[in-house]
Subunit: 296 residues, 2 copies
Amino acid sequence: MLGEGRSETLAGHGPKVVTQQIARTIEDAISAAGVQASDIAGVGCGMPGRMDVNGVILWSPNFPDIEGFPLVSEVSGRIGLPVWMENDVNVAALGEFQFGAGKSVQSLVMLTLGTGIGGGIILNGQLWTGFNSGGAEIGHSVVNPGGRKCGCGNHGCLEAMAQRDAIIERAALKMQSGQKSTLAEEVDYQIDKITPALVAKHAASGDQLSLDTLAETGHWVGIGIANMINILNPEMVIVGGGISQAGDALWKPMLRGAYAYAIYESRVVCQIVPAELGDNAGIMGGVALVLKAMGR
Amino acid sequence: MLGEGRSETLAGHGPKVVTQQIARTIEDAISAAGVQASDIAGVGCGMPGRMDVNGVILWSPNFPDIEGFPLVSEVSGRIGLPVWMENDVNVAALGEFQFGAGKSVQSLVMLTLGTGIGGGIILNGQLWTGFNSGGAEIGHSVVNPGGRKCGCGNHGCLEAMAQRDAIIERAALKMQSGQKSTLAEEVDYQIDKITPALVAKHAASGDQLSLDTLAETGHWVGIGIANMINILNPEMVIVGGGISQAGDALWKPMLRGAYAYAIYESRVVCQIVPAELGDNAGIMGGVALVLKAMGR
């Protein structure tokens, strides 16, 4: 990694400003790396939502203004370099596959646990992005119909059961029931101060409320993992995203859930491992996108 | 289709007898077709369970004696022809893909509804069979944790919620609650006389108990279909197997369930269609296996 840039997307200001912010970030990274634009073979990007093969954004719930906008060609035109773009979690999966936890396998499923739950699927060494770039929305597979309402409008999606807000709600409910807890003391019984990181911290020091919160969350993620093992029989499932760093309090019940619901013959060959590249998975996946486009 | 043969597997008599029965069926089909064995390029087979790339059976819950047995080489040795074998639902998916409902697409998911619920996945025109031949066990993805017990030991698998016995149980429960019904009259309130075909027949003539039974079943299959659309974004989902022939009483709630839970952008491009080849899907998939092995 030679250099980095970082900017706000300023999505509320519309696609032209987003284009400018992306271009600026790329230019910042190039100058931080101390190289010239002419040294750069290409730019690989990750973007939430789905885009067509020409890089026109089809659907981006967090940036609705950008739908229909030819983001790839606009960014490329502005920086004068070829640009390849993919869904952000797909790019992260590609990064882990080529440079991280998945280096040694040819098939994997990646899940990212955070504000949402994203998915990426690699089969036969290739990203499967679906017929119209909507593949691997594993977070929106239903694991508990009638369960918690999801941002997508349905109930009981894996994302609804295990994302950031689900964890906070779970902890809040237990807190409101009067359960004693060091987490509750730290946030002074104020629900809006609960964060998954705080829950993880108190779980690690033995707080039962926090342990239970992460155990329930891990159980749902485990069912989601088992479903992917049963449906795709991959060599590896990689779990990343901020919430995946919650430690054994999350991982043990998650693995128990996965083992309980996955077919024995498929799960004994499937490694379930943490992501290795952290926030850099997407960046390294961008590198992989460019290498692939160049046939390397 | 030039000729057919049909024999019992006699699985209870062990793998040698099964081998003999398979060989006999192949010889019967050859002679019914009025051709010579020397005219045959190869034999394609479908088999429940999973087998390794050399045709050794790894897992076959209905024929446990056959696990570890080199079925492909034994059959091949006996008939003197090359043999290719795959999981039976995978072969059926391949048949529908190459010769049936899926002829015009490059990605599809097939579900077969019957005693069990089987799955087959075709991506980029290729069967995805998983890392160790366990792929596409879609029937054992969990859609309702805590739901009905499955043959696999878990609770709430798609199979447990929508297979043959689940339909019978659903109708029986309603019957026991005293609901008036032409189905109940036909079976004389005897639960062991209920069959999915009878339920479908009475649903078609407006029997509310039968309609409700199939509506609940269809709803679960619809959730299973939605999950596959969200996870894989295929061009097509094909629904086959005996129970798929239960008509609108099953299909309408199934499509409603699929549409309710699938991501809009992915489901509008995904055709959800009945299988076209019926019992011949596996046979035509066998043909496809041989053609593929021959590079055609």
